[in-house]
Symmetry: C2
Amino acid sequence: MTDFPAPDFSTADASPPDFNARDAEYLAKLQDYYADWKSIPSYAKLCEVFGIASKSWVKAILTRLNTAGFIERTPDGAWIPTRQFFARPLAESSVQAGMPMPVTATQGDYFIIDEMLIDTPSKTTLIPVKGDSMIEAGIHDGDVAVVEKRNLANVGDIVVAIVDNEFTLKTLDKERGKYILRPANAAYAVIRPQGSLEIFGVLIGLIRKYRK
Amino acid sequence: MTDFPAPDFSTADASPPDFNARDAEYLAKLQDYYADWKSIPSYAKLCEVFGIASKSWVKAILTRLNTAGFIERTPDGAWIPTRQFFARPLAESSVQAGMPMPVTATQGDYFIIDEMLIDTPSKTTLIPVKGDSMIEAGIHDGDVAVVEKRNLANVGDIVVAIVDNEFTLKTLDKERGKYILRPANAAYAVIRPQGSLEIFGVLIGLIRKYRK
DNA sequence: TACTGTAAAGAACGAACGTTCTTTTGTCAA
DNA sequence: TTGACAAAAGAACGTTCGTTCTTTACAGTA
């Protein structure tokens, strides 16, 4: 998975020089507040949040946070957090020399797993996998298939097809000019649909949850 | 996966009787606005959004949306969307008689995959899997392991251990009173750590992305 | 036609808001 | 000890905000 979306902290490093260590503290306080209330309050409230007494200084801080890319404004003038706002560096304790750095799973309220798997949310569906007909492809009973709804697929794709009014997850293949559905389990038979094959969607991701 | 979190639309049905069809239209408009600007604007702006001219009527609408559970207020008085705000019913086209109903992967800006996998975001880490030492457990090279950071695990858990300054993903087992790390691939050797075994975390989920 | 309830408009007001400009405080260096 | 600068405070102001109360429009019903 070469396109693993590691958070880009270089942006923060490339911030203008007037975003300083003190601003980082203010940012942390704003992040804490937002985590609680899911909104950026008025300048007066931000005075409390930041622990200062000056609205104008609040504005100066917000301007710098804006320049540094942590917050932005709507056309209505409301401050809203950016994606970068939610990116926090890893706790130092988890970073050790010589080890691949883990990536935090979530960044505030934004989750990267979904963005990893899903480009087109409205066309994406989750379907629980039943049975072990694809077990040799590492798809187990109880896994959840992330499926992009479309009725065109390529040979080799793992597709969700509609066979006998049921969803079935198989590899799409071609045999003597006709499309077939191939399981990844020697105990299961290849499905050779008569007439046309109805494709519901294409497997784009897989999710598994281990029992706690 | 019996705990698959299907969206609860029954809540919307159980709304107070004064949340009517017209309010549903206002809700849709507010949802659209929020999708664009990620904030709920002032009453004056909401007049434009709703296509009405009365601030007091805006307030009446918001009060009903609040009672129905779609929005709520911070202690500062700011309106913020609730989880239910982002839940939209499935498109009718994807629901067909006699078939298991798929669950939409995302609901507005809230994603259910993460909530499915992650209870404690701050303790959860994503680690890309390298190699095929766990392939018989359906964990493939390139998968992403969802790992909960903790240093206690049970026998049988798949754990991320730190061996020779590297993360390694193996099943935790016990042999003659000593903990060992067992791969799920006959070609790999069991790891028998000398001294103590350092556990980084426990595998709680797995994510796979298929090439597009 | 009159009654009733809902949907919406409108006016009025004090409080809160964001902005701008000026002033103070503290720190470091020359 | 003076100068320079950053950090923060403070005042002042016109605008916008949310709230409350009153009024209008309209549809359905008796």
